[in-house]
Amino acid sequence: MGNVLTIIAQRLMLGLLTLLIVSVVIFAAVNALPGDFAQTVLGQGATPEAVAAIRQDLGLDRSPIQRYFDWLGDALRGDLGTSFAQANFASYTGTNSGATTVAAQIGPRFANTMFLAMVTATIAVPVSIILGVLAALYRNTVFDRAANIFTLSSISSPEFFLAYILILLLAVLNPLLPPLSNIYDGMAFSERLEKSLLPALTLTLVVTAHMMRMTRAAIINLLASPYIEMARLKGLSPARVIVKHALPNALAPIINVVALNLAYLITGVVVVEVVFVYPGIGQLFVDSVKIRDIPVVQACCLIFATAYILLNLTADIMSILSNPRLRHPK
């Protein structure tokens, strides 16, 4: 086990290092803005005194390196800074609590997004793994070909296309689900679930297609290995060949597929949230981009990147753990 632990420790360190460098990249990108924040916020007509006051208030008069470490230190404590344009967001959060910190804005929306991602994963992961394994077992049959066309089409379609088609079919023509996801705090779980179902289904379509194709490829690859042929030649039943011989070895690739696609969800969530007006972090991000609310953009970026890196790291570590060669060293 010692061997595995060192490898995992190494991966963790590497992940942390990547995260640190990513934070530098994000910080540097934002600092590549011309002029300075204060001027941008106040516009051209601002008096020099006001600009200087804001500069000092936001700490813009210090060196970039010092500001980076201040920002990073604050971010680690959960303080993501002060939003430039809080007023613009009052209507979205629904609560005019006067929360001016980025953290206060992101907090509830982050929870909403996590909820959406979880609903999606709960539907998508089992469905796609089962379909993927079936497609691999019955490859080159009508089922496999139809699944291939269907998944390719849904991967290739932009998320908003799928979203509008679902709205059209399930909300407008057959009013089964609400077309907009106006979620607020203190909503009952079932109502919240109902309102999140359409965006979750849209994401499911995209992610399932990806996951199913990757699962299929992984299983086909596995079924071609000599030890599967050996198991068949030992006269084992097809079910036993799959359960006992294929699945233990398929675990690593499948975990990898799942983690990679959950990471993919992060990108997909942005567009889908905008379509359904779902009050998640993705929509906040897009709105902040449009009005150039830099601290929010920065914070959202950092959160998305962290989630992405963490998921990839999980995939890495899980596949190390499920590898018998590493688990049982010589």
């Binding site: 050996m230 030649l233 036993r240 233990p248 060669r325 049982h328």
Partner: protein, 553 residues
């Protein structure tokens, strides 16, 4: 059971198999008959592409994806395997018919312990319980002379060496005491010294349990030790079948005779080198390492003009690494390489064009040695132009000359792509490319080991002729002692990155020699069917294979 009856255990009649490539079904086996009596061992030999593995699997009623049985019948103990239901076939496979695959490392499931995989068959077929089968497995491991039989089964496949895995797989095949075992090239991937151990234990256990077997291999000497009867296949057709001794002494068909004759090619030993002459290439006290792992320790030997030096050793002995040091791909940690008495820069990038030109290389895998997107003419023309500076018609003329030298018709082969050539032809193009540089010294890295024996012999004869015509110096890397006998003038034996012994070929094949050389030489199977029996009687079962190597260390 049926072991005493006179009915054949396996009866194949007019079997035809087809394989699919590019949506077209091509024949693999065109109508083969086969009888196998209970307890009999049938050797199935042929070159690659002869369809022997496909036939072996078909004898179990099994075809791989993309292969189908188009005609004929396969009967096992009176049961027609081609019409039997899947359930009936599953009941036979593993229980009464077992399979031992070529690559044990790939055929054991990496996720389960050896013993779990061993007992799976008996338990699933209701032959034995888990405990009983585990006991039996340990007993079989002991019979197969595996080290630590009591605990080796509780390891994972990747924790066990290749030769041991192959024996563990034989034990697994034996677990239900089947009537028939198909051995599909079980020793091809192993080193000679390991191979002999596996051969001895397989033969022993098959005899003990009176199991019938089909032994598939391309190695005549191996099949001579194992089989009662031999069937020779050529491109899906049966050439002839006879019992082993008759087949070895009096083959009737031309193809069989030519196979047998391969081993007779042997060049006469050239006279010793005059002392004081400057060697073409001299390896002097070379140490080398991959990263921090040392691979070569103080390797020194000389290669003289017009001579062939065979460097012999098993995988991991450092023979290819030595070649990489000579070509400059792996600069040695210490020591030097001399060309005509002048030290070469260690790194090939620092060598002059002239120095690079003098040292050429021919590779083992002709497939990866030729750019698949370049036609034969361009492949050979490049060094002609690069070193000789020839262009246009002169270049073309030189390429045609080279093609004629390697016995390929320029008009026909100039424009072909490597994928349109056979394995032997590809290897010839590799030779022509080396010759095109007009070098003094050529490294031949296992040039014949990927080829069928007849083709390999053609390549050896070609190399020998070219050497005499152009007074080339060869460094011949090989693990095959038959090749050494055929072409070498001097031999260097390597083991674990050290030169164990070196000298003239004739001296090497005469005792006394270093114990490792001795083991290596004695492990090479001979065409004599009694060879293994005699060897075991002479040396004892503990003095062959890895056990003997272990004693030496």
């Amino acid at each position: 059971m049926t072991k005493t009856s006179n009915e054949p255990l396996v009866k194949i009649r007019g079997l035809k198999l087809e394989g699919r490539s590019d949506e077209v079904w091509n024949p693999i086996i065109n109508g083969v008959d086969l009888n196998l009596m209970p307890g009999e061992v049938l050797g199935l030999i042929g070159e690659s592409g002869a369809g022997k593995s496909t036939l072996g699997l078909a004898a179990m009623g099994f075809t791989r994806d993309g292969v189908r049985i188009s005609e004929g019948s396969v009967e096992f103990d009176g049961i027609d395997l081609l019409t039997a239901s899947a359930a009936v076939k599953r009941g036979l496979l593993g229980k009464r018919i077992a399979y031992v695959a070529q690559s044990a490392a790939a055929s054991f499931n990496p996720a389960h312990r050896l013993m779990d995989q061993h007992v799976e068959g008996p338990v699933q077929h209701d032959v034995m319980g888990t405990a009983e089968s585990t006991e039996d497995g340990i007993e079989l491991y002991r019979k197969l002379r595996l080290p630590n039989p009591d605990e080796i089964g509780f390891r994972y496949p990747h924790q066990v060496s290749g030769g041991q895995l192959q024996r563990a797989m034989t034990a697994m095949a034996m677990s239900c005491r089947p009537d028939l075992i198909i051995f599909d090239e079980p020793t091809t991937a192993l080193d000679v010294t390991t191979q002999i151990e596996v051969l001895a234990s397989i033969r022993d256990i098959v005899e003990q349990f009176n199991t019938a077997a089909i032994y598939i291999t391309h190695d005549l000497a191996v099949v001579a030790q194992m089989a009662d009867r031999i069937k020779v296949l050529l491109k899906g057709d049966e050439v002839e079948t006879a019992d082993t001794r008759t087949m070895l002494t009096a083959p009737t068909q031309d193809y069989t005779k030519s196979l047998w004759a391969v081993r007779s090619f042997e060049r006469p030993q050239k006279p010793a080198i005059a002392s004081g002459s400057v060697p073409v290439v001299s390896v002097q006290n070379v140490d080398a390492a991959y990263g921090t792992v040392p691979v070569l320790h103080d390797v020194s030997f000389d290669m003289h003009k017009g001579r062939t030096v065979a460097v012999v050793g098993e995988s991991g002995s450092g023979k290819s690494t030595t070649a990489r040091c000579i070509t400059g791909l792996l600069p040695p940690a210490s020591g030097q390489i001399m060309l005509d008495g002048v030290a070469l820069p260690a790194d090939y990038r620092k060598r002059s064009k002239d120095q690079l030109q003098q040292v050429q290389m021919i590779y083992q895998m002709a497939d990866t040695a030729l750019n698949p997107r370049m036609c034969v003419g361009d492949i050979i023309a490049r060094p002609v132009q690069f070193y000789g500076g020839l262009r246009g018609a002169d270049k073309r003329k030189r390429v045609d000359e080279l093609l004629e030298q390697i016995e390929l018709d320029p008009a026909e082969y100039y424009g072909r792509l490597p994928s349109e050539l056979s394995g032997g032809q590809k290897q010839r193009i590799g030779i022509a490319r080396a010759l095109a540089a007009e070098p003094k010294f050529i490294i031949c890295d296992e040039v014949t080991s990927a080829l069928d024996q007849l083709v390999a012999e053609g390549i050896l004869r070609l190399l020998a002729r070219l050497q005499d015509e152009l007074s080339l110096t060869y460094m011949f890397i090989t693990h095959d002692l038959a090749t050494v006998k055929a072409i070498a003038d001097e031999v260097v034996v390597m083991k674990d990155g050290r030169v164990v012994e070196q000298g003239l070929k004739n001296d090497m094949f005469q005792p006394p020699h270093h114990p490792y050389t001795d083991l290596l030489l004695s492990s090479v199977p001979e065409m004599d069917p009694d060879w293994l029996t005699n060897l075991l009687a002479e040396r004892g079962v503990d003095n062959i294979g890895d056990a003997a190597v272990g004693k030496m260390a």
